[in-house]
């Protein structure tokens, strides 16, 4: 449920320690909007520590959470390749420490460092291969199944992530989430 990428994180930490590139460390408190939707930026970020959410808001003001990002996950990297505006907003949930690259450095690394290139490519592929089955599952299974699934993947999700975020992640309303939780409690399948 909360995605991570330890291989990428440790490699980037290593690069950063060398000091050859302008990779800086930044800190954010909780509930900090780091990236807004439909904007242009010039930095790529990689989470060193903490949890953030990446979400799309639609015209009706609803939020649809794409991913919860944990250690080693990048964001803002798509735009380097597509040259277009950001599609997701990213907001810290817990306190967050990130590495930040300029587009120029990120591009240069991708071009000259084969291992970095490969890890970034793999990270993109992983984002795709993770998203598809999740949406498919959500679509074709009742809410209760989805909740149980979360519980398996991340036993104490309820203690870290708000109900609202969980609902937006599953793509339902808080009301429906509560109904499902009630249902599961009654059946003794929860907690």
């Amino acid at each position: 449920m909360i995605r991570t990428n330890s291989e990428l994180l440790s490699y980037v930490s290593q690069i950063q320690r060398l000091g050859k590139w302008g990779i800086v460390e930044e800190e954010f408190g909780p509930k900090n909007k780091i990236i807004e939707q439909d904007q242009r930026y010039s930095q790529v970020h990689l989470i060193k520590e903490g949890i953030a959410k990446c979400y799309i808001s639609d015209d009706n003001g609803r939020e649809f959470i794409q991913e919860f990002l944990g250690a080693g996950m990048e964001f803002g990297e798509l735009e380097v390749f597509t040259g277009r505006l950001s599609i997701c907003a990213v907001e810290s949930i817990t306190h967050l420490t990130v590495f930040s690259f300029s587009y120029a450095d990120f591009r240069a690394l991708v071009k000259t460092d084969a291992r970095f290139n490969h890890l970034v490519m793999k990270a993109l592929a992983d984002k795709i291969r993770y998203k598809a089955p999740r949406h498919s599952y959500q679509h074709s299974h009742p809410i209760e199944d989805n909740v149980l699934r979360l519980q398996e993947l991340f036993p104490d999700f309820a203690r870290v992530i708000s109900k609202k975020d969980i609902a937006n992640y599953i793509g339902i309303t808080v009301r429906s989430l509560n109904r499902a939780l009630k249902q599961l409690e009654g059946a003794g399948k929860l907690k």
Copy 2:
């Protein structure tokens, strides 16, 4: 709605004409299952001509269409990077002509040809940036809006793609699709 990538197609055509790599051309009739879900393969494909669908089937036998693939779209490439089983099945809709690479050649090209590397990276990024807003839109808009949207993106979708596939693409049943179409006809918003 039907994704394409002319830049990648023309570059691969060019590479193939050089004959330095073992890129072969293959043909498939309509309704041919080229890739099955949860299998291991050793080839990457790129569509030269025709339309295919890429879909996930869930445990209940329902299909959820991820993308309609047109000229220049790759499939089977994720597994080169992730080393895992296929997540989607791919089936031709029309007659299909594809270029096929062995994993070895694909990997070698990614490693040695900077332009190819960049185009593949961009193609991955595009797959991500395309998928997210679509699912978000589908989720938070009534079916009618989704149908109208398809109509805009691809005016005569109904003549090429079956109702079942369209419904599976939007993530609804055929019954609901018919209801929406009826609704729109009545309001004079269709055709």
